[in-house]
């Protein structure tokens, strides 16, 4: 009798363990908890950034003595659009204005305004942003395809022949973690975390799809670098983003199958450039503090 009960207990224990393992395996495949976590977090960031755009940004149409909240200038939205697509920091100053005001390391985004047409549908009137990658590619994990949204009613100001025109509209902001934002975010935070000794080592693999044909990296200043990603079959389309090096003691290097180089040797005039094969690619951000604080970007 005792043997029967013991056998039953052991069967129950191992059966429970087996079913739990199966359950976790299924959950891991179909229920990525990061999707929920990142969606909530990105929506919070979207609302915060939308608030900044609509209450105190260079997009607003300001009279000399008064800030008109929620009144955006259609011309300025167009000016911002041209600012995203250059790594020339001095072109009309847009790049610096964007970096100082409205760039989140963690996310890339599209901001657009839409007005209601006479037929009742919504028509997009202006937009700027840097979401150009096709994140539907199979190269990306589920959690990388999540989006954060924010939407607000606004007024778009433009100048007409007969004076100012104020048009009721909707502002829409979409945030995503893209390969560019992930790379800039993880390089910057690895540098800070090593410098502050929060971690002994840190490793993060960043995936990107075949739509990225070329990557360009260089140091703009000792504390700041620029990453640009070029779209395949459209090499004039590139998206750039800043990353930060929190301390001169944290060395940054790039390596691939042909060698390893110190990032500080690459400048805007002579950047590191690498063409990528037409399939899924990875960059590993490998940070380590053992001998000297060092961040290695490995292409694979």
């Amino acid at each position: 009798m005792t043997r029967v009960i013991l056998s039953l207990i052991l069967i129950l224990i191992f059966g429970f363990a087996f079913l739990t393992g199966m359950g976790l395996g299924v959950m891991d495949k179909y229920l990525d908890l990061r999707v929920t976590s990142y969606t909530i977090d990105s929506s919070r960031h979207a609302i915060n950034l939308m608030h900044l755009f609509l209450t105190n940004s260079l997009l607003l149409e300001n009279s000399p003595n008064e800030i008109q909240k929620l009144v955006l200038s259609s011309g300025r939205i167009g000016e911002y659009n041209s600012g995203w697509f250059t790594d020339q920091e001095d072109i009309l100053g847009y790049r610096m204005k964007l970096s100082d005001c409205c760039e989140l390391l963690e996310y890339d985004y599209n901001f657009s305004t839409s007005v209601r047409t006479e037929s009742g549908s919504w028509s997009k009137t202006a937009e700027f942003g840097n979401l150009v990658f096709d994140m539907e590619s199979m190269c990306y994990m589920d959690y990388q395809r999540m989006k954060g949204y924010a939407e607000m009613p606004i007024v778009v100001w433009s100048k007409g022949n007969n004076g100012n025109i104020y048009t009721p509209a909707i502002a829409n902001l979409t945030l995503m973690k893209t390969p560019l934002s992930e790379l800039a975010f993880w390089i910057s935070q690895s540098s800070l975390r090593l410098n502050e000794k929060y971690d002994q080592s840190l490793i993060k693999e960043i995936r990107f799809g075949p739509e990225v044909e070329k990557i360009r990296i260089y140091k703009a200043t000792p504390a700041r670098g620029i990453i640009c990603m070029f779209k395949r079959n459209s090499l004039h389309d590139k998206i750039c983003k800043q990353f930060y090096n929190s301390s001169a003691e944290v060395k940054m290097s790039i390596s691939d199958s042909s060698g390893s180089w110190d990032i500080s040797t690459f400048t805007q005039a002579s950047p590191f450039e690498k063409f990528l094969p037409n399939n899924c690619n990875n960059i590993t951000v490998d940070a380590d503090i053992n001998r000297v604080p060092q961040i290695m970007l490995r292409f694979s």
Binding site: R3, L33, N48, E103, L104, S188, A223, S246
Partner: protein
């Protein structure tokens, strides 16, 4: 019918195995909760970064104060280069970073604190955004 020494040995082994299974499950679940659920470093970093972004959008003079005095958690926090990095040490030490849109000015305080049981982030909009971390 009395139990044989073999039966007693099996009872002891089965009990130990069952207890180990329960303990390992609880440990693993607790670690998973820290990794994906209760993650004070992630929520703190995200809250602080969000407030710094919001503060830039305020148009009147305002003081925002974000406090965290959770007992049993020790914080190391650094805010610089558009990043808030929070390392929270409880049973597990977990570090998370979040980014904000506009760099605040730092006055009357510092941009980092170490080994803080409780802390405040004070943001003053006047009209520039001034921030300070207070332990």
């Amino acid at each position: 019918m009395s139990d044989t020494p073999f039966d007693i040995l099996m009872i002891v082994i089965a009990t130990i195995l069952a207890m180990m299974a329960v303990i390992f499950t609880v440990w693993a679940a607790e670690e998973q909760m820290y990794q994906f659920g209760i993650r004070p470093s992630e929520s703190t970093a995200s809250d602080m970064a969000g407030l710094i972004t919001i503060a830039q959008g305020l148009t009147t003079e305002t003081i925002l104060k974000y406090g965290n005095i959770t007992s049993g958690i020790t914080y190391n926090i650094t805010v610089m280069n558009k990043l808030v990095c929070v390392s929270a040490r409880a049973r597990y030490t977990i570090t998370d970073c979040s980014s904000y849109a506009h760099e605040p000015l730092w006055g009357g305080g510092t941009h980092k604190i170490t080994d803080a049981i409780g802390f405040n982030l004070v943001i003053e909009k006047k009209p520039e955004v001034w921030a300070r971390l207070v332990q």
